[in-house]
Symmetry: C2
Subunit: 230 residues, 2 copies
DNA sequence: GTATTATTAGAGTATATACTCTAGGGAGTC
DNA sequence: GACTCCCTAGAGTATATACTCTAATAATAC
């Protein structure tokens, strides 16, 4: 593998593990057992590394959220979107942690991320539209659908931060992908009131599969899971 | 005013304006025109300053979310809770920005914030319960109410970060309290499906007052101030 | 082969940051 | 005056951090 790619890979790994703020370019170089000079031969600065990682993230999510228009949407499609989005969040989880600082430090990133958010919101909106066409949820006025899409986005992008704060002693690294995917339970909660009678039970069943389990949560926030599973 | 209090006040101001990461203890001292030595006479370190500011924040929100149990809850009560919570978020807005780093750096804060989150979730849950008792929303099973409360929390605590990313050129400091309060529109969107027929129109009307408008992006929304000073 | 280009090492630097240390001022008390 | 206590100034420090510079080595082209 090219040194350049190794730098990107190691950076992502270290950022995810320790948080961007706690990872210096010297750390990255040391982790790869290369010199700082070598690192700076491939990247002008730390921001450039982060920006390239963002481009990968963007590409991944854009790929996941590509919506086929040639056939009716299914529950399986919806599940795929949800799973994929949380997979993406997991793989690039450092990103949302220091989002505001990163955007303040890099104008390109700021602009790109803004457009990325817009595309995601549009995609969520379109998914709701297609779910309505497929008879899975009731059709809603555009204004409501837009507000609902935004709420989905807010829940999805904040779920990880919430999980982290719900943990007591463990650090950032102690989250698991499975815990993260319990965010799907929260997203499906948003959809519940709009489900058609024909699909309501099936979605409820699907939702149950993501319900925070005792064993997962007990270490983290015992009193929460008791409430949530009552 | 005591130097100690001035330090807390200036720190909060600078943190809110520039972000905690961009504000050093030397900046704070310089801003107050006192010596670093003086600052460190009053606080052992930067973490201690942040922790004390958090205690103020916690106190404020706990005060706002105290729920009277001696009378039925009203729409005015709900409006008050929403307005208050966003006021609190605004006044201590630096906090959620660097939340994960702050919690990683200070065990006390981590523990306290975790309990604080739990109290907030319990309060939101109780508000839903009381709204149902008052006939404003339909009663829901406890499990659903818990999931809904969590979604409210996620939307509320992530709304500001979203607004920041939605802005194109402006920096952190360019947010306004009025824009922030459009988050109320999003929270009320969550409640919509559960409203009783008797209250549905009134809540819809209330919600309209917080709807994001085009003019809001450039100037403060005049109609919001009326609600704010109920 | 030689010339050129791409890559790498590693020492080094300017700046920033959190924090320390010593000396002393001012106010109250005896 | 002298003593005490609280507060303050300001120079200073150890460490970290992002990044640079030079020289050498490997790869490729001719």
């Amino acid at each position: 593998m090219k040194t350049r790619d190794k730098i990107l890979l190691s950076s992502l790994e270290l950022f995810n593990e320790r948080g961007e703020r706690n990872v210096t370019t010297n750390h990255i170089a040391a982790h790869l057992a290369i010199s700082p000079g070598n690192l700076y031969y491939h990247f002008r600065n730390k921001s450039d590394i982060i920006y390239e990682i963002f481009l990968e993230y963007e590409k991944l999510v854009d790929f996941y959220l590509d919506i086929p228009e040639d056939r009716a949407m299914t529950l399986a499609d919806m599940t795929f979107y949800l799973e994929s989005v949380f997979d993406g969040l997991w793989s690039y989880r450092f990103f949302h942690r220091d989002l505001e600082y990163l955007l303040d430090s890099d104008q390109r990133l700021r602009q790109d991320y803004r457009e990325f958010t817009q595309r995601c919101l549009t995609a969520i909106n379109r998914i709701f539209e297609r779910l309505a066409e497929a008879g899975i949820i009731e059709a809603q006025p555009e204004a409501l659908r837009a507000a609902m899409s935004l709420n989905v986005w807010l829940v999805v992008t904040n779920w990880m931060a919430f999980l982290k704060t719900a943990h007591a002693e463990e650090t950032y690294a102690n989250l698991t992908l499975n815990e993260l995917k319990q965010g799907i339970y929260q997203v499906l909660t948003l959809e519940l009131p709009y489900l058609t009678p024909a699909y309501r039970d099936r979605v409820l069943e699907l939702r149950e599969q993501y319900r925070p389990t005792l064993s997962d949560q007990e270490e983290a926030a015992p009193e929460l899971s008791r409430v949530a599973s009552r």
